[in-house]
Amino acid sequence: MRAGETNRHLSGWLLASPLTLVLILFLVLPIAMIVVVSFWQATEFSIIPAFSWENYDFLFGSPVTYRVFGNTIKYALIVWAFTLGIGFTVAYFLAFHVRTQTWQIALFLLCTIPFWTSNIIRMISWIPFLGRNGLANSALISAGITDEPLDWLLYSDFSVILAFVHLYTLFMVVPIFNTMMRIDKSLIEAAYDGGASGFQTLTNVIIPLCKPGIMIGTIFVVTLVMGDFVTVRFMSGSQSANVGRLIQNDIALLQYPSASATAVVLLITVLMVIGILLRFVDIRKEL
């Protein structure tokens, strides 16, 4: 029996060794490297191994940092609220109002296909919509809602959030739909039989049972938005900043130590948020 136990652990690790190797080489070591480099110093042309708190002093001493982190969290919260609302409604429709399984699968696929296409192209696609002479403005003008084209449709917080919601809502739809499909329909019938209204059933039965899916979706959306640098650059026309942009700017200036320090703070922030969220859900059980 003892030998069997050892054997199980050994063969487990053997099977997991390629995965472990990739994660050590391309995840653990890079993070360790970033932490180390965040204490180094930089000149305009090169980086110098040293130990100094200079980068962190500068980071925490600058008001820009707090503004940018605040902005990042603002984006995350707003996008989370929208993706949750839209994602839940869409998943609810698919799970409880579409009756045949064939239709459910077909419509579900329709919702997920954009996930497998390019994010950058999907971002670019908004330009003909939102620009000064774009579709949205021509529609608003011809409907008589405004006389002049609205400037804030593109290259603004509005377009950044719109693009985020567009890109990431399916990360909410998929896990919430997954948990909804596993709700025992007799529980819902029991609620109705007990005299609950549709709304009461929703808030007292369905939403609590969907919590794991909501949590998994939240983890995806929050981390994707907090780690983003492309969408913000692109959709704000470089007018707004988030932490990812801050890091990318430093990289472009070859200021790797300062980029690393910002990256470390961002990573700690993200991991803290995830740590809190993971307390509410056991991902392995929910798949």
Binding site: W13, L19, I120, I121, S125, I283
Partner: protein
């Protein structure tokens, strides 16, 4: 058939609007990529033509679109094969509940939630400090795996959570070795989900941008090329490229879906092979 409640129509309308929101922009650039030669980045259409598609096949003024497409395609295949093999092995490993599996699991979750730019930055730094040249097939390949492997593994978890172990036990009772049970029982049962893992592996790699940004070296992948074009191309040629690569992605998705569908159909037709004596 009983009548549907009013909420069905309200939610149905919401769903249709959501689909419009999801697909509308893509359709718009698909239409705009057929702009006439004088046309610009927005409506109105100044005639229709294949001018901008034609432009893509000309000698490039900017960058190397076809070279980058070939690299992205090759990289996608490499990542796809690796993701399938490593995820299956990982999925089988986690079933054994080996000591320390929780640590590995949290590493996988970290790989999933870590901001992409950190992977890009860290891998770039390691390669440069170690004096290794960064290249899409080495550093780029590894960076992309940190994104595709968690997805592959999560799918494997979902698959094995639903896997009926009694099939495997039955095979062992009949004297199958571990390997035989795996080869003739487990793998055929999970095969359709492996196609899903392959789809994730290929498309996530083909479209990956952030993790390859600092790790691809001097030869760009297609998303990097497109990203470069967004800053200096002001003609609908970028829409033509966008439509073409989206069509390519849709084609790939279609191939994968067809494969799953025909596999299921073949299975249903063959029915059970009990008593026919395999192996």
């Amino acid at each position: 058939m009983d009548t549907r409640p009013r909420s069905f129509y309200v939610l149905g309308a919401f769903f249709v609007l959501f689909l419009l929101f999801l697909y509308g922009p893509t359709f718009t650039i698909a239409i705009l990529s057929f702009q006439g030669p004088q046309g610009g980045l927005t409506f109105p259409m100044r005639g229709t033509s294949l001018h901008w598609f034609h432009d893509l096949f000309q000698q490039q003024a900017v960058g190397d679109i076809w070279g980058s497409f070939r690299r992205s395609f090759a990289l996608g295949l490499m990542v796809m094969v690796t993701t399938v093999v490593v995820s299956v092995m990982g999925g089988l490993a986690f079933r054994k509940r080996f000591a320390g599996n929780a640590v590995l699991f949290y590493l996988v979750i970290t790989a999933l939630v870590i901001p992409s730019i950190l992977v890009s930055l860290g891998v770039g730094l390691i390669f440069s400090q170690a004096g290794l040249p960064i290249h899409w097939a080495s550093s780029g390949f590894g960076s992309q795996l940190t994104w595709t492997l968690p997805f592959g593994l999560l799918i494997m978890f979902a698959v094995f959570n639903r896997f009926d172990k009694s099939f495997e036990e039955a095979a062992r009772d009949q004297g199958a070795s571990n390997w035989q049970a795996l080869r003739h029982v487990v793998l055929p049962i999970i095969a359709p989900s492996l196609i899903g893992v392959a789809l994730f592996g290929f498309t996530l790699s083909y479209d990956e941008f952030a993790r390859t940004l600092l790790t691809a070296g001097s030869y760009n992948t297609l998303p990097l090329e497109i990203y470069g074009m967004t800053t200096n191309v002001t003609t609908p040629v970028i829409f033509a490229l966008g439509s073409l690569t989206t069509a390519f992605s849709l084609g790939i998705i279609g191939v994968f879906l067809l494969t799953v569908w025909s596999m299921n159909k073949k299975r249903a037709k063959q029915g059970s092979d009990a008593g026919k004596g395999m192996v």
